[in-house]
Amino acid sequence: MSLISVKNLGVAYGANTVLHHVDLHLEPGEIVTIVGPNGSGKTSLLRAIIGAVEPASGQISLKPGLKIGYVPQRLHIDQTLPITVERFMRLTDRVTRATCASALEAAGVPDLLKRQMSQLSGGQFQRVLLARALINKPDVLLLDEATQGLDQPGSAAFYRQIEQVRRDTGCAVLMISHELHVVMSASDRVICLNGHVCCEGTPAVVASAPEYRALFGTGTGGALALYRHDHDHDHDHDHPHSHEAAE
């Protein structure tokens, strides 16, 4: 059985339809990247999966007892709210200090337990978010533009970490990216969304091409890959597929 199965999903805010006829399945251990321009409904899809927004049509079924680890797009912690990394790690799960410490170590940010969340750098913050999402050993990891605000080497390191997580725990990964052409190379599938599923494919690893080097530099260790959109198929609707214009 699929971990997550979305059938013919439609999401609307008032009269404004943001998603229609979306089908999506996530199998155990799979890494799926969803790309799409701003306003394409990526975040709405994720919000529908976690139950934050009611579908206007269609169905979403989660495997019974599915444990979700969620990494939000950005987490603003108000200046007035003091919270240590350790307390944050225990936000929704009852875990020991030792578990927190080893989760942080596995995330590559040891010794942060006593630090205030507000004192962390962008990269440390994202890794703490990831470590917290992983602490109750989820079956699926949902990431909403988790690399936003990180530079390219930072994103690459973050992606390598997620790949490592999948290797170690076998947890499935569903992530959203606003980058249309550069995706995590370990993605098993890439789904391009623009109100509906425009195209679906696998990322092309072109690490040896000179263009690739020019584009990514050499510090990314093959964590990033290009995705070529294949929009030559026919839909029974007539809106333009203007990715480049929307970027």
């Binding site: 919000r47 939000p72 912690i77 007035t80 307390r87 929704t92 949902l142």
Partner: protein
């Protein structure tokens, strides 16, 4: 022991401080300060209605505060900015309340007692209501603490953990209405928001975790209540405002100390 009006007043003040402290932290974290004000201002309409209908002031104030809080929650994000909405509702409720009071010509009421509180006139029954309300609020907040905190930090995070942020918001709103209702007698509708916000804000610099902040806020609130009442007795000043003055002074002093220790380090 409860025969002494100062003892009753002190216990009433401490009860309100304990309930207001953890709630005040959420009010500060969620930037709902004005929300507390709006709920409190609406309570004066509740007072007027209770007097007209001859029902308990606590009940009347709580019902109106609750209606106000739920209305605000419901209307948020429907075309008006939160502060505009609260400005309209809070001041309208206060104005309607004051006008309603003027119709009650048959009853002699001391409006000042409801605007600024009348803590020295707290009866044994009042004390029971105040502590009953305070214990209820503390129990609600402790029970939902983790969920409230998660929903405060990030809505999606709450949903993904199987929580409903809207339900948590409602629990917070409900607690706020109860606190406002029981605090009217102690500090009055104009100063309730101060009891929510000032101790929590004063505790910020001393705390490293949310729980510590709530604990320190409770302590600061209790100290303010005790010292404010003593001050009011010695200097013959109004009790409610004196309590808020002590809290404000503690806020200033604690901030100065934190600021100095940070700039010295």
């Amino acid at each position: 022991m409860l025969d002494d009006f100062m003892t009753r007043a002190t216990l009433a003040g401490v009860g309100v401080a304990f309930a207001a402290a953890p709630l005040g932290c959420f009010v500060v974290w969620r930037r709902m300060a004005y929300f507390g004000d709006a709920t409190a201002h609406a309570a004066i309409l509740g007072v007027a209605l209770s007097l007209a209908l001859q029902i308990s002031i606590f009940a009347g104030a709580m019902v109106v505060a609750l209606i106000m809080a739920v209305t605000v929650t419901f209307l948020t994000g429907r075309g008006y900015a939160m502060d505009t909405l609260l400005g309209v509702l809070a001041h309208s409720a206060l104005a309607f309340g004051l006008v309603a009071v003027s119709f009650l010509s048959g009853i002699r009421i001391d409006l000042m007692a409801y605007l600024f509180g009348d803590i020295l006139a707290v009866s044994r029954l009042d004390l029971m209501v105040i502590w009953g309300g305070a214990i209820l609020v503390i129990a609600l907040v402790v029970w939902r603490w983790s969920a409230l905190l998660t929903a405060t930090l990030n809505e999606e995070l709450a949903y993904a953990s199987g929580l409903d942020p809207k339900r948590e918001q409602l629990i917070l709103t409900l607690s706020l209405a109860i606190t406002v209702a029981v605090a009217i007698k102690v500090v009055g509708v104009l100063l309730i928001a101060a009891m929510l916000i000032i101790p929590a804000a004063a505790a910020r610099g001393l705390a490293r975790t949310p729980e510590a902040m709530a604990g320190v806020a409770a302590a600061i609130g209790a100290v303010s209540a005790v010292a404010g009442l003593q001050g009011a007795y010695i200097f013959d000043t109004p009790a409610g405002p004196s309590i808020v003055c002590v809290a404000a002074i503690l806020f200033a002093v604690l901030n100065l100390i934190t600021w100095r220790s940070q700039s010295g380090a």
